[in-house]
Structures are given as structure tokens and as C-alpha cells.
Symmetry: C2
Subunit: 225 residues, 2 copies
């Protein structure tokens, strides 16, 4: 039974990777940079996306894909920012996959976009296994979750291209020790960039905007083949 | 492909339920009350378990099963409380299942226990689908996660026998609106008990102890057949 399951899982992941490659090629054709944003529930993915739209909208054409098990709570908040948005609901599911993203791309005005922000389902485990065709993976870890998350969810943190420690305005009320967090990250992904931010106060968020703008500059300067 | 997957999922869930029933019958034989504690990562499951052991240890024989993707961080903290503990690590997994609990029960001194606390993997989605053989399911929702979680993760909250809103000491620094949270719960599980607690200050936590003691009293007064 176990061997059978493993085979099927490999088939699923193999098919997903093929589809993800197609998505990435399609995005490259339009010079769109796609970012897969992942975290636990309530770590602040939607707040980060809204701040990012507010900051970059004057210079950057942005669209958003919202992944949720249920509800359109986040999509409605993002929709108010006046950018194209696709809501994906996955009843009984626990992560986005490349097939869902392909369907969403069919409904987006690709020729009019520079940046695609994909908010994955709130889950620090399952989304890590599924390439969506994005260019970079961003992991949020909020200070109230505690400083031990990289040790407890190593796959997710090992996959990250950048880690944002969010809700840093709450630090005075938390037992969160940055040293412990950094040591945990160093064990699974020593070279990754870590930004400390608060979407509430704006603290540290310029680093994130700069990083994002650099991804888009690199993409225009060195377009993939 | 989709139909094939569904069949296998049903097989897995069916086999899991049969095993869960066996676990429950085995626990009943020893008059042990088993509680399945679930939440997002970092909502305070381990803190709640440690507080519970400290309070009830003088009168109650407690054991703990710790479920984690990786690491023994939580198990080490709980181990210091001097109760029997089994760590289950599930690399590549995202929830406990009845089979894992059966194996853990084989290693616990069942004849010397009143209460079994099972800390599930930090995940607000996948654990909801798997009966472990527990008697009650407890869901923690921490105030920093936001008040919209029942709408966004309806299955988990619909399965709860009791909901604990944790980290209530952080309320002054949060946008968490209890009214919104209660309305969300009312939509998916209107009869469920909700306790507002802080493991840091001890606020509200007596309600949780009383509830737990009542579960054990009920179990002794009306032992399952």
C-alpha cells in the first residue's frame, strides 16, 4: 500500500513540475516576475500584498492570485486596491498547484503585467512541495508564531529565496529571540536573505520593496532564454 | 486520474477510521480520556499542554503524544514536566493518523493514565480529516492570526468540540475583533464552546481546566460500553 502511494505521489509531483515549467516559460514570454508567498495562517501575507500594491502601483503593473481553502475574505481586501485578481478556492485541498495557476493565467491580462503576486494557502507544510511556475519563493514567519519555526518546518524554510519576519512591531510583547530564529534558518538555508518588517508601522519594509524591484530589474536585464 | 485519487483517499480515510475506532476502544478499556489538540503553527499548543500538566498533575495521571514534521523542540519542553511522552516525527507528512497513535499507545503505560493529550502537527487544514481515536477535538486560534480564521478554515472549526482563543494578553495590540470571530464560528459550528485564554497571564484558563476535568468525570460516570 505504501509503495503504491509513493508512486502516485511521484506521478503527481512529476506532472506538477512539467506544468510549472510551462507556466514559467509563459510568464517569461511576457517578462512577468512571479512570486509565490507562503506562510502559516495569519502571518500577514495579505497585508504584505496590500502594502506592496500601494507602494509599487505607480510604477509597476501588478496582478494577484489568491489561494484559500474557503472564503474570499482576502481577495475582497486586495480587490479594493484596484489590480486584477483571481481567487482560487480549494475545498478539501491544502496548497496551490501548477494546474490551478495555469487556469488563473488564462484569465489574467498577461501582456499588461510586470509582477504577479501569488498568495498561497496558509499552511507551513504542504505548499512547499509544489512548484507553481513562480520565479521566487517568499516565506513569512510572524513573531507571535515563535522563533523555532525553521527547525520545526525545515522543508518550507529550505525552499525560501527570501524570508520575511513579520509583525516585528509586536516584538516588545513576545518571547521571540532573533538569535534563535537566525540559527534555525542557518541550519536549513544559510545563504537566504532575511528581512525584519512590520506592515503596521512600515518598519523594514523598504528592504522588501527594493528586493522586489531588483527581481524585476534582473528579469528585464537578463531575460530567460 | 482524479477519480483514481479520490478512491485511494477514501481507502486511506476508511482504514484510518477503523484504526481510530480500535484506538478509542483500547483507551476506553483503561478509562483514559484522549484529547486531540490542533491549530496553526505557533498558536500555543505546547504552552497549553505545559500549563495543563502543571495544574492537573497532582490529581491526574497524564501522558503526551507530540506530533511534528521535524525536531523535538516541543517534546523536550514537555519532557521537563515529568510525564510520559512520545515524540512522533513525520518527515514529508502534514498530520497525525490513527496508525501513528496506535504505535504510540504500545509504548505508553496505559494502566497508569487518566488523560492523554495529543499535540497534532501545526496545520489548520490536513489534521481535521483524520480521526485519531480521540474523545474530543480542541482547536486553538491565537489572536495574532486574526479573527477571520473560522471562515477561511471551516472544516477544522466545524470539527471542534471546544475552541480556545489563545494569546488574549496580546489583544490590546491586535486588530482581532471577537464579534467577527464569534460570527465566523457561528456559521460553521454554532453550538461549540469558546474559551478566551492566555497561557502567559493565566487569564481564562480555569475554564479550560474545568472543561477537561468534566470530560474525565463524565468518562468515569458513564464509561463507554
Amino acid at each position: 500500500m505504501e509503495i503504491k502511494l509513493l508512486t502516485i505521489k511521484e506521478d503527481i509531483l512529476g506532472a506538477n513540475e512539467a506544468k510549472a515549467r510551462m507556466n514559467r516559460e509563459r510568464l517569461n514570454k511576457y517578462s512577468i516576475v512571479a512570486i509565490n508567498i507562503m506562510s502559516s495562517p495569519g502571518a500577514g501575507k495579505t497585508s504584505l500584498i496590500i502594502q506592496t500594491i500601494n507602494k509599487l502601483k505607480p510604477t509597476t503593473r501588478i496582478a494577484v492570485i489568491e489561494g484559500d481553502v474557503a472564503s474570499q475574505v482576502d481577495a475582497e481586501k486586495v480587490h479594493q486596491q484596484g489590480v486584477p485578481i483571481i481567487q482560487i478556492n480549494i475545498p478539501g485541498g491544502c496548497h496551490l498547484d501548477a494546474n490551478m495557476i495555469e487556469n488563473a493565467l488564462n484569465d489574467l491580462p498577461l501582456e499588461d503585467l510586470d509582477l504577479l503576486l501569488i498568495e498561497n494557502v496558509g499552511n507551513l507544510i504542504c505548499p512547499a512541495e509544489f512548484d507553481l511556475g513562480e520565479h521566487k519563493k517568499v516565506i513569512l514567519a510572524s513573531t507571535p508564531e515563535g522563533d523555532d519555526k525553521p527547525d520545526k518546518y525545515p522543508l518550507m524554510f529550505s525552499e525560501a529565496d527570501v524570508v520575511l519576519v513579520t509583525k516585528c512591531d509586536l516584538m516588545p510583547y513576545m518571547d521571540f529571540q532573533f538569535d534563535n530564529f537566525f540559527r534555525g534558518i542557518a541550519r536549513v538555508n544559510p545563504a537566504v536573505g532575511i528581512f525584519q518588517v512590520s506592515c503596521k508601522t512600515g518598519e523594514g519594509i523598504e528592504q522588501w520593496f527594493d528586493w522586489l524591484l531588483n527581481q524585476m530589474k534582473d528579469s528585464k536585464a537578463h531575460p530567460p532564454p
